[in-house]
Symmetry: C2
Subunit: 233 residues, 2 copies
DNA sequence: TCGCAATTATGTTTTACAGCACAAATTTAC
DNA sequence: GTAAATTTGTGCTGTAAAACATAATTGCGA
């Protein structure tokens, strides 16, 4: 258990947008209902068909949201970094989760009961707008993903994935190496292909001098070319 | 131009959920800013990259939301029936439209400036919740679509599309014939395949006695079998 | 009502990618 | 510190679906 002063520090420093939308009174409601959780690598935070009860807030680590399809084939839908919120969509839609969330690596998360969040929304319009904005951005992203994943060829989809990872988790000090180290399987599940094809295509990119691969470390050395490959399909 | 009494009748009868969330004062704001538009078959309501300015409300007819992909290949993302709202997502996300909307058939629509809608949201929490709910439902739908369109085989995708059309636009009095008559091309764009393959697969379904086709009239005569095909992939 | 364009239909060819098999390398477990 | 399990890497085969070609049919505009 983390002591309250630390908790208040985390919340008030990282929750930015959402936190700033609250009155002092409402901030107290949040801190009183905020619970810290630790998740191990690959541990599941919630699973498909579960009833949504909490708003989750990623404080440290990395989280993936994924969904099982035909023959248990997995599609990674979204990635989260600190400090982002997730787990609320299904609650607002009034349905069980249609996807699962799990930790990519050891992660710290905060949970707030959705009932609390809902009552805060009713008392605070800025908070409502925060969620409207988040949902609207995600929906645009999913619509774009539909077209990218169904219409682009393997090379385009993998290039997309690499650029997304750079955007989402950033690059190391060399301004080229992805900060996230993920398995070939995860990379495949992100870009809708088999693990074999992810490996194969990654190898092609290496021989084309677009990237350098060292185990799970991926260094993007020609991002413009990757963008071109992504654009063509 | 439709006279005001008719307009008020349309609005107060059809806008249901959203309308009921408003105070009398707010209802007046809506009627004062509500403009009726007629669209011809295939006419574009708004296009990709346009700046979103209006909330659109479909009063009669049918509307498709679609997005261009690689080589101008089109994916139909969502379908709208009276009385549903659309066109607001991009505004809330603070970005240009990423998809277009056009009328499937002659349609009547109402528009309300998003600025008006936004100010109403700030004054009315029920309205905010209405949009949160809509966006949350749509996002779940898009996430499911990602998996269905990328992982299911052609037969499964077409079966999905037929069942979706039944759900969305309903059936005629025989409880079997789809109320929407769409081109094979639209059917293909809805289920992510070429027009040739939509035609071919439709023919297979006919010979398997799952459907009866008469021009653009499609009669579902074995919905359970279609559901099975959809489920397997 | 005629003629042109769009839509529907069907056959053939091509290919991108899944599926499978298996080997090598790396990580994990005990 | 060694065995087992997992991950990574490569080659081969099969096939689902796109691409292309070409009629036949329908719809539409002048």
């Amino acid at each position: 258990m983390i002591k309250k002063s630390t908790l208040e520090y985390i919340i008030s420093h990282d929750l930015a947008d959402m936190w700033n939308a609250l009155t002092p009174e409402q901030k107290r409601v949040v801190t009183d209902n905020f619970v810290i959780h630790k998740f191990k690598k690959n541990q599941i935070i919630y699973a498909e068909s579960d009833t949504p009860e909490y708003l989750w807030c990623l404080l440290s680590g990395k989280v993936k949201m994924h969904k099982k399809g035909i023959g248990d084939r997995i599609q990674i839908l979204r990635l989260y970094r600190p400090v982002q919120y997730f787990g609320y969509r299904a609650y607002f839609a009034g349905e069980p989760y249609v996807s699962s969330a799990s930790a990519f690596e050891p992660s710290t998360l905060g949970s707030i009961p959705m009932k609390v969040v809902e009552s805060l929304i009713h008392a605070n319009n800025d908070l409502a707008m925060f969620f409207i904005h988040e949902l609207a951005c995600n929906l645009g992203g999913s619509d774009t993903k539909i077209v990218n994943l169904t219409q682009k060829h393997i090379r385009g989809r993998l290039a997309d994935a690499l650029l997304l990872l750079a955007d989402n988790y950033g690059l190391e000090d060399d301004d080229a190496t992805l900060k996230i180290y993920m398995s070939r399987e995860d990379l495949a599940n992100l870009s809708n292909m088999t693990t074999s094809n992810a490996i194969r295509t990654l190898t092609s990119f290496v021989s084309e001098k677009l990237i350098i691969v060292d185990g799970r470390r991926i260094k993007l050395i020609n991002r413009e070319a990757l963008k071109k490959i992504s654009k063509f399909g």
